[in-house]
Amino acid sequence: MDKIKNFFRMFSNIPLAGWLMGSFVAVLMEYYLGDAISYYLYLPKIPVLFGALFILKEPIMIPSVLAYDLIIYALPILLLGKLLAPFANALARMLEKIPLSLATLIYIVAIYGILHLWAGINDYRVLVVKLTMVSIILTISLNIINGYQGEFSCSHPGFMALGAYTSSTLTLLLFTDDKMFGDALLPAALGPWLFPFVLIAGGAVAAIGSLAVAIPSFRTRGDYLAIISLAFMFIVKSAVENMEILGGPRGMSSQPAYATLPVVFAWMALCVWIIHNFTTSIMGKALNAVRDNEAAANSMTVNTRKTKVTAFMFGAFWAGVAGGLFAHVLRYVNPGTFGIQKLAEILAMVYFGGLNSIYGSIVGAVSISVLGEALRPLELWKWIIIPLILILVMIFRPHGLISFTELNVKNIIRPRDKKLSKGVE
């Protein structure tokens, strides 16, 4: 155990900037040398998700996949991270001096660059990354209601459907020549520029729809509200299924491809930023106060009704935006998508990652999405393994992996060498 601890301690002086540099080199290596290395390791092509698919299909490939991961990812990231640590720490210190918002922006752009290169290897990766980012938005927005506000809302797929259908209808109606809605009303060139407004419209419709759950929440809590919200989800699903104008159970297809990787990433970053601002402000803390003790919150001048409505509408708005992105990533929606399975997926991400924590939600969304993709070859067994992991997490950490932790950007990007010297003393 000590050896493992010491091994990890070796890397404790690498700041985020160092990890990013290492990852950047690893991604570049894969971009230029990936094909050659996989050829010499007898892999049919570059492993998509760290070789998980190969391993599960043909266990004989395990050594080559491990070798590939070691050469392309582990070695460059760890070695370069370690070697460049002094330089990266100096850089981190420089970035610490400029305003935090600007520094954060630089880091976000760097992260995006790495992600773009990594995903650029093939279309499957692009799709996985996009869907993962949509899941992040969904998870954080559900965390507002189920974590911060402490209700148990099951209506998220419903909000998502409202957003997905609203935005799909708008883009199909306005920017494309379509069988369902006829010719485009606006020039198609405007489409990508007006796409944000389309998504916001989708979010707004979802937010208005959420009043159907928010208003009963004044009087009921817990199980009863869960049932009301579940009913809302089914109502939305059945309503869409029965509306021929929206394609009925067949759904809508051929949405324009506006949800490119940078667009989805930008929306995710915006979502994280706004929700972080909100949850750390007193307005957002009011959600926690209402959750922990409503009577006390009321007596401490908190307008609890307004707080509840805000939580629901705000969460639903982002679910609607996520739904819109989802529809334009897949370029197809049907009502069947927004059922109980979607709900289980989002709830799993929230409770796995951790309640009352943006950080936890990101971890939960990424791990469940990537795990879901990586275990795809196991087919049915996937739906046994993931729930099993969830049960284990619930036993050992009932509030989720990283619960009740605020996203502390300053701490994430700080230089790491000073702390090590303190540890040695």
């Binding site: 402000s281 007193i282 926690n288 003790n293 009577a295 919150a297 009321n298 401490m300 609890t304 805000t310």
Partner: protein, 257 residues
């Protein structure tokens, strides 16, 4: 000028049960008043009626001449009526500093837009709130616990957090519901000091419910005794202490052999 708090002929029924009958109360700025009475006399009900948890069946309540009967709890609270609870209602997942910050809710002006986008105005207001919160933490001697979760604090400190939180709402009158319940004698003495200090430094009027006679006698200028929802005696501490009706209510009637 209208008194700070004026309650006139307040009566309240729970179904057929008359919980409070013809309750009258006048509190002037800076006064400390007490409400005593045996268990089940309706003391907490009186508190809940004035603070807006229940709306009284009859009577009127006004704060600085303005009617507050029938308003929402948070509206009454933001008009200047702060309170603590008999059984500590703290937010168990929140740290101490956030408790105090939270209670500034109605004093914020930046709105949801400011909260979402972290505008300059919101940052300025939040900063002012944090400064004020630290001041309150100092006054109540809990600044060393600022980033602790309230559940982990000693009981006396939790009581002080609740007091500090009530003071953060910037009240003109403070309602204390059994502020010394469950305290050790040492903590009790500390509490008396703190209440005196709050009274002196903030110039706030105080209305308190208490069981411990010593505490009430020490602090209050005027005391009301409530038995079965009716005030049976009213006056300065010495008078109440020697009032035969009060003694009877508390100790029972002395049988003459």
């Amino acid at each position: 000028m209208a008194p700070l708090l004026e309650v006139k002929d307040m009566t309240h029924y729970f179904g057929g049960l008359r919980a409070v009958n013809n309750f009258n109360l006048t509190i002037e700025p800076g006064q400390i008043n007490g409400l005593i009475g045996p268990n089940g006399a309706g003391k907490t009900t009186v508190f809940n009626l004035i603070t807006g948890v229940y709306t009284p069946t009859e009577g009127s309540i006004s704060l600085e001449g303005q009617n507050i009967k029938g308003l929402e709890i948070h509206e009454i609270a933001s008009m200047g009526l702060g309170r603590t609870f008999q059984n500590l209602l703290l937010w168990r997942h929140m740290n101490v500093l956030d408790h105090i910050r939270m209670a500034h809710y109605s004093q914020l002006d930046y709105g949801l837009f400011g909260a979402f986008f972290g505008t300059r105005k919101s940052r300025r207001e939040e900063k002012a709130v944090i400064e004020n919160s630290y001041k309150l933490l100092e006054i109540f001697d809990i600044s060393q616990f600022a980033d602790h979760i309230v559940g982990n604090l000693p009981y006396g400190a939790q009581r002080r957090v609740e007091m500090a939180r009530a003071m953060a709402t910037n009240p003109k009158i403070l309602f204390l519901d059994e502020p010394t319940a469950g305290m050790t004698p040492d903590e009790l003495i500390r509490m008396i000091e703190i209440i005196r200090q709050v009274h002196r430094d903030f110039g706030v009027a105080i209305f308190l419910i208490e069981h411990r006679m010593k505490f009430v006698m020490e602090l209050c200028e005027s005391i009301q005794t409530l038995v079965f929802g009716e005030v049976i005696a009213e006056g300065p501490p010495e008078e109440i202490q020697n009032n035969p009706k009060v003694i009877e209510a508390y100790l029972g009637k002395e049988d003459v052999h």
